[in-house]
C-alpha cells in the first residue's frame, strides 16, 4: 500500500509502485480531471501540483509520492469558489475542446504561486503545455488577468 494525500484527503493505494501517478489518480483514486495526452511528459495535460509544484503526473511513479500531498484540478476551487485562474479562464473564455485545460490551469496556478505577476517572457518559460485547439492567446490574457485579480 502506498499512502499519500490528494486534495487534502488521505489515500492508501494498492498498486504496482511503478504505475504512473496519472493512472493512479484516474483509475484508482477516481479523479479523471487530470488527463492523459502523451505519457512522456511532453504535453502537460496531466499536470498536477506535488507539494505545490507543477509536475507531469504521467511520468512520476506512484511510489515517488508516498507520504506527499497532491492537488489536482478537482482540488483547485475552494469553498465552492473558483480559483482566480479558473475565474480568469471563465471570464476570458479560454477553453475550446477543454481537454488540455486542466493541465494548463494547474500550470498557470503554479506559476502565479511562484511569480505573482509574471511577464510575457516568464509565461513563455513556464507554461510549456500543448494545446492543439490553439488557445494560447486567451491563455496569456487570462494569466495576466488572474495575476491582476
Amino acid at each position: 500500500m502506498i499512502a499519500f494525500s490528494v486534495n487534502g484527503k488521505a489515500q492508501s493505494i494498492d498498486a504496482d509502485p511503478t504505475t504512473p501517478l496519472l493512472w493512479i489518480l484516474r483509475e484508482q483514486v477516481g479523479l479523471t480531471g487530470t488527463k492523459y495526452g502523451c505519457g512522456i511528459a511532453q504535453c502537460g495535460a496531466c499536470t498536477v501540483h506535488l507539494e505545490g509544484a507543477p509536475v507531469r503526473s504521467c511520468s512520476i511513479p506512484v511510489a515517488a509520492v508516498a507520504g506527499r500531498s497532491i492537488t489536482t484540478i478537482e482540488g483547485l476551487a475552494k469553498d465552492n469558489k473558483l480559483h482566480k485562474v479558473q475565474q480568469a479562464w471563465l471570464d476570458h473564455q479560454v477553453p475550446q475542446c477543454g481537454y488540455c485545460q486542466s493541465g494548463m490551469i494547474m500550470a498557470a496556478a503554479a506559476l502565479l504561486n511562484q511569480i505573482p505577476k509574471p511577464t510575457d517572457a516568464q509565461i513563455d518559460d513556464n507554461i510549456t503545455n500543448i494545446c492543439r485547439c490553439g488557445t494560447f492567446q486567451q491563455v496569456r490574457q487570462a494569466i495576466h488577468a488572474a495575476a491582476a485579480a
Binding site: G39, I40, Q93, C133, G134, F136, Q138
Partner: protein, 736 residues
Amino acid sequence: MTTVLNPTRRSFVLGGALGGGGLALGLQLPFGPTAADAAEGPAQVIRDANGFPEVTAWVVIRPDDTVVIRIARSEMGQGTLTGLAQLVAEELECDWGKVTTEYPTPGQNVKRARIWRDFATGGSRGIRASHEYVREGGAAARTMLVQAAANRWNVAASECVAAASVITHTPSGRSVTYGQVAEDAARLEIPKGVKLKDPKDWKIAGKPLARLDTLGKLTGAQVYGTDLKLPGMLNAAIRDCPVQRGSLRSFDATKVSRMKGVRHVLQVGTSAVAVVADTWWQAKTALDALPIEWDEGAGAKASSASIAFRLKEGLTASQAFTGNSNGDARGALATATKTVEAVYDYPFQNHAPMEPMNATARYTPERLEVWVPTQNGEASFAAATEAAGLPADKVEVYKINLGGGFGRRGFQDFVTQAVLIAKQIPGTPVKLLWSREEDMTHGRYHPIMQSRLVGGFDAQNRLVALHMRLSGQSIIADVAPANLVNGMDPLTFQGLYQPGEHGFGYTVPNLLIDHAMRNTHLKPGFWRGVNANQNAIFLECFVDELADAAGADPLEFRRQLTVNHPRNRGVLDAVAERIGWSKPAAPGVYRGLAQMKAFGSFVAAAAEISVTGGNRIKIHRIVAATDPGYAVNPAQIERQVAGSFVYGLSALFFGECTVKDGRVEQQNFDTYESMRIRHMPKVEAIVMPTGGSEPWGGIGEPTICVAAPAVLNAFYRATGKRIRSIPLKKHGITFA
C-alpha cells in the same frame, strides 16, 4: 413511440464528394422508417427522457421555463454547440439565460426518419449547413407557443407577442411563460414555412456571447470519452499492425495472461490485438510485453523517399484529372514571352487531438451500446451496427465530449475495434483507449502532395497562363470511392475549384489545374483545413513568385488578379490596410500575404516577421480577415481564427510524418512537435461578414490555409530564400 425497423440493410450514401466537404464519408446507414411511417400526429406529445414535452424536435421546454435545445452536430471545441443554440434561441425568442443543450442520439435519429438530419461535424459545416432548418425549428416552436397562449386566452395569435420566454397579449396585458404553455404547444401541429428573421434584427445570434460549455472544462468535471466510468467496466489497450493495411499473424497470450489485472488477450478484426484488464495501465503494460507477429503486407516496402519518387513522376505525367480550366493554358505557356516554374511539396501530418482515440462498448446479443467522442454520431452508429452484426433497433450510440477532433474523429476505426472487443466479452462494458503512440502511427493522415506550377507572361509582363499540377493522394478515393467523379476527386482542388465553396479566387486568361492521383498505403484523412492547406501554400507562394517575376508588388499583383472576385479582394484589402502595407515595416521586419476561399469563407492573412541568423523566425504579428457571409458569434470566430494559426503554423514549422519500412516514424509529441505558448504570435482577427445571398461560409477550418503561405512569403522577403518544402524544421528553420 416505438418503431420496428426494417432489418434489411438498404443503404444510402450521404453527401456528394465536394458537397460533403471535409467529411464526405460513404456512410452506409441502415435505413430507418420512411418519413410517413414516422409521422408524428399533432395530438401525440413526444417527450424527452425526463418526460418533458418536445415542442419541435429542436426544442424541449420544462415547466420551470428551462429551454433544452437539441444539437445534432458535435462540439469539439469549435463553438458550434453555442452557435447553433444561439440560432434556435433567436427565432424561439427565449430567455438565453435559461438555455441548455443536449445531443439527440444517433439511434433516435434513425428511428425518427432523420428528423435532426445530418450529425456529421466536419468540413466547417456545423452551422453553415444547418442554420436554416435549426432556425426554422426555433421559429416553428415560437409560433406554437404563441398559438397555445392565444388559445388559452381565446384571442388571436396576431395580438400576442413573444419575448424572452414570455408571451404577452398586447391589448389586455396578460402574459404567460413558455414553461406554462409548453404542454399545450406540443400538441399543436408544427407549422411549415414560418418566416425567419432578417439577420439585421438578431439579438442573440450574431452577438459575442459566452460559450455554454465552459465551466465543466475548468474544474475537471466535464466527462470526455476517456473519462467514462461504467459499473463493471474493463479497460482495453490495442495494437494494430504497425504498417497500415497489413494484418496480424499471431500473438502469444501465455506470456502476459498471468500479469496483474489482465483478463483477456483478444484478436481484433484481422489486424489488431488487444489486452483487456482491470485498469488501462495494466492493459497497456501487458500489451507492451506481448509477443506479436505481423504480416506487414506490401506497404512495408514503402519509405518517404519511395513515396516522394512516385509523386514526382506524377508532376509531369500525361494522365491527370482536370479540376479547373479555362482558355488554353498549355498553348499560352508555349507562346509566352517569359515563364516561371516551381515545384512545391507537402507532407503527411497527424491530427493529434489531445485526447487519443477511444470508445466504450457493452454488447449482448440483444443490445449494443456505444459511448464515443465522435464527429459523426451516425457514422459511429453505422460502424457499431456493422461490427456487432445486430439489427439497427438493437443498437444505440451515445455521443460524449470530444477532446479535439480536427477531422480524425469523423473516422470510426476505433468504434469498430471497441465493438469487436466487447462482442467477445458479452455483458461487460469495455473502454478502449489508444496510446498516443497508437494514435500517431495509425492516423488518417493529411494527404501528401507535390505541385508543379508554371506561369507565363506576355511582353507587357501580364500573367497570361497558369498551369498548376497536383500529384498525390486522394482522400475520397480511399474513403468513399463511389463519390469520385469519373475518377476525379473534386475535394483535391479545395480553394482551386470551379465557382462554389472552394472556388479559385483569381482570374487568369488561360488556366489549367489538374491532379495526377498517386495513392499510398498510408491512409489519408480529412485533416482540419484539408486540401486547402497545401493548395494555399502552393498557389499563394507561387503567386508571390509570379509577382516578383512581373516586377509587381505582391498586393497589387493580387488585386489585379481579383478584379472579378470582390470578396477575395475584400479580405485581402482588409489585412493589407490593418498591417499597414502601404507604409514600410519597422526596420528588420518583413511582410507576407495570402488569400483563399475555403469552406465557403473568404480568408486572408498578413504576417510580419523578422529572421535572425537566417533560420530563426520571430512572428511579430498576424492579421487575419474572414468573410463568412454571416457571423453567428464573433467572439468565437476570433478564437477559432487564433487557434487556426496554431494549427497551421504548427504544421508549417514542425508537422511531418515520415515513413520507414512502411511505418510512420513519429510516435509522440517529442518527434511530432506542436506549438507552445512561447511560439504564439499576436493574432488580430478581422471578422467581416458581408451578408448577401450566397451560402454561408464556415469558420473552423478556412483560416488555417493562409497561415503558412503568409509567413513563407514574409520569410522570402526577409532572407531571399524561397522555401518550397514543408515543414521548416527539415531546413533547420525554427522559431526564434
